[in-house]
């Protein structure tokens, strides 16, 4: 009888040890990135009187003119919230990324939509080689015409997208801040795609942004706005609580 208990005890211990080992290694792989990464957060403010945004006349496209009849769409070159927060600013790491983080390509496929004769979002931040989808939610055609700078890794193309077409799957091959996108049929439509390696963020209505999944280290973080250009600052990221980097863009005299 005693022998059986002994065998049982040995087997149980082995199984327990195996189980613990498996659990521990799984736990370690799952949590190692979460425990070891940090981020950067902050607010982008606008100092001064922003340039007047103008209502867009969409009478050339009757569907859109009707849709926005009671609430006209404004141009989006400088969008400042009620508390002075600057929207549509791309924030990215311009220096300090280690090779592993820089080469990661997110599997998320963001959508660039055409709705109400506007691009949604107005500014999209993408990683190099990250796939995105272009969709047309309007009842009429658009053509998507990105215009990257010549002789870089990204090339100009121009595709028609009638309503009901399945979304186009695309990706950009090289860093570029930022690629302007236009629609020739609707000349008021403007947007930007900022293609940059590493984690990025775009500021929201309050001018707030958060960059996540950044390993601890010393970085240069850059904020880019379509009218006011770029600003950079150095920031040190530790594991856990995000570091803070605020930016202020000043109004120009003219």
């Amino acid at each position: 009888m005693k022998a059986h208990y002994k065998t049982f005890a040995v087997m149980a211990c082995t199984l327990l040890m195996l189980g613990f080992g498996l659990w521990y290694s799984a736990h370690k792989t799952l949590n190692v990135s979460a425990a070891a990464t940090g981020g950067i957060t902050g607010t982008i403010k606008f100092d001064g009187t922003p340039p007047h945004q103008k209502p867009i006349d969409m009478s050339k496209e009757p569907n859109c003119a009707k849709e926005h009849a009671s609430n006209p769409v404004m141009t989006e070159t400088v969008v400042v919230g009620p508390k002075g927060g600057l929207k549509w600013v791309v924030v990215y790491i311009s220096e300090g990324l280690d090779a592993a983080t820089a080469s990661q390509v997110p599997s998320v496929t963001p959508v660039w939509d055409q709705k109400g004769c506007q691009y949604t979002p107005h500014v999209m931040a993408l990683d190099v080689n990250q796939h995105f989808k272009v969709s047309n939610s309007d009842p009429h055609s658009h053509n998507i015409h990105p215009l990257p700078a010549p002789n870089g890794a990204n090339h100009e193309w121009n595709r028609s997208q009638p309503p009901g077409t399945p979304p186009f799957d695309q990706a950009w091959a090289g860093q570029e801040v930022a690629i302007p996108v236009k629609c020739n049929i609707h000349p008021w439509m403007h947007g930007y795609m900022a293609v940059v390696k590493g984690p990025t963020a775009v500021s929201d209505d309050n001018g707030s942004y958060t960059i996540k999944n950044l390993p601890p280290g010393n970085y240069t973080v850059t904020a880019w706005q379509e009218v006011y250009g770029s600003q950079s600052q150095k920031v040190t990221v530790g594991a856990g609580k995000p570091a803070t980097a605020d930016f202020t863009f000043k109004a120009k005299a003219y």
């Binding site: 050339k60 053509n143 090339h155 100009e156 193309w157 595709r159 028609s160 009638p162 020739n184 000349p187």
Partner: protein, 311 residues
């Protein structure tokens, strides 16, 4: 005294002759407005059929025939360019309108070879039938020295063009339906005269104003920049005219449907003698509404049992 005059004369004559030898031989050079970097002639090649072109062999041809408009550096800043509309092609960007390859990709050597030979109607690019094939191939290679894209990328694959179906009134009717559905009229106008609602605000990729093609202009000359045949027309909307507002419809149109669109577009050339216009006249000039004759998908079994008893 005579000796002094004679020797003075000889000296002056000698001086004139000496300067004549020293002056650069190419008196047709553009005025020298300062030091200019030399043109680096990279050893680019072109392959058209069994002809291989070499950039170095075209250097003097380019300078003599092309640089006046396209510029010594291929950047469309030749001395004539200020007076030209449309502007000469800027080779430094390597974006070309008339290709057989998809939007965003480089043209094939054969595309460029044909473009030089055919010229571009309604522009200042002549029909260069004065060159031999070898000269043209060398010039295609020379164009490639101006943009690093040619070193980094291969040309796109030429699109596959299915055989053209017969020209019938049904084909034309389908083409007209496509013209409406794909909203070509937004730029080209309902009669293809280039007066659509979006036409007035069109700009090319360098922000220069540009007009959509006017199909009704001209008579028997097709005035298509990318070639006169139906196949050339087919290629235009399957590849898009890169650098202009004309997009590619390759993702949104079936290859056979595209032929129907070509047949309809030919009827917009109202003054041209074409098979399409003959077929249209035979139908008394009326394009019937298009009826989709593709068989409907088989009805699901539950439909037959619907209480309404309808079809």
């Amino acid at each position: 005294m005579r000796f002094v005059v004679a020797s003075l004369f000889t000296a002056i004559l000698g001086l004139i002759l000496a300067t004549a030898f020293v002056t650069p031989a190419s008196a047709q050079e553009a005025p020298n407005v300062g030091p200019k970097p030399p043109v680096v002639v990279k050893p680019m090649e072109s392959h058209i059929g069994n002809i291989t072109g070499h950039a170095a062999a075209a250097k003097s041809d380019y300078k003599r025939y092309c640089a006046g408009c396209h510029g010594n550096y291929g950047d469309s800043n030749g001395e004539n360019a200020v007076w030209l509309d449309p502007k000469p092609r800027d080779f430094t960007i390597a974006t070309f309108k008339c290709r057989s390859t998809l939007t965003g990709t480089l043209p094939t050597d054969e595309d460029l070879f044909k473009n030089i030979g055919r010229g571009f109607t309604n522009s200042n690019m002549p029909i260069w039938n004065t060159f031999t094939k070898q000269q043209r191939a060398d010039l295609v290679a020379y164009i490639k020295i101006f943009s690093p894209r040619w070193e980094r990328e291969k040309a796109g694959d030429p699109i596959k063009i299915p055989a053209e179906p017969p020209v019938t009134i049904d084909s034309i009717a389908h083409g007209k339906a496509l013209f409406t559905k794909l909203e070509c009229w937004k730029c080209h106008g309902s009669h293809g005269e280039g007066d659509g609602p979006s036409a007035a605000t069109l700009t090319d990729s360098k922000d220069n104003p540009i007009r959509p093609y006017d199909f009704a202009a001209g008579k028997n000359d097709s005035r298509f920049k990318c070639g006169n045949t139906n196949e050339d027309l087919y290629k235009i909307f399957m590849t898009g005219l890169d650098g202009t507002p004309m997009p590619s419809f390759a993702d949104v149109i079936q290859p056979n449907d595209a032929w129907d669109l070509v047949h309809f577009l030919r009827t917009l050339q109202v003054k041209r003698h074409s098979k399409e216009n003959e077929v249209l006249s035979a139908a008394h000039g009326v394009i019937p509404p298009y009826v989709d004759k593709t068989p409907a998908p088989a009805a699901a079994p539950t439909d037959n049992k619907s209480p309404g008893g309808g079809n």
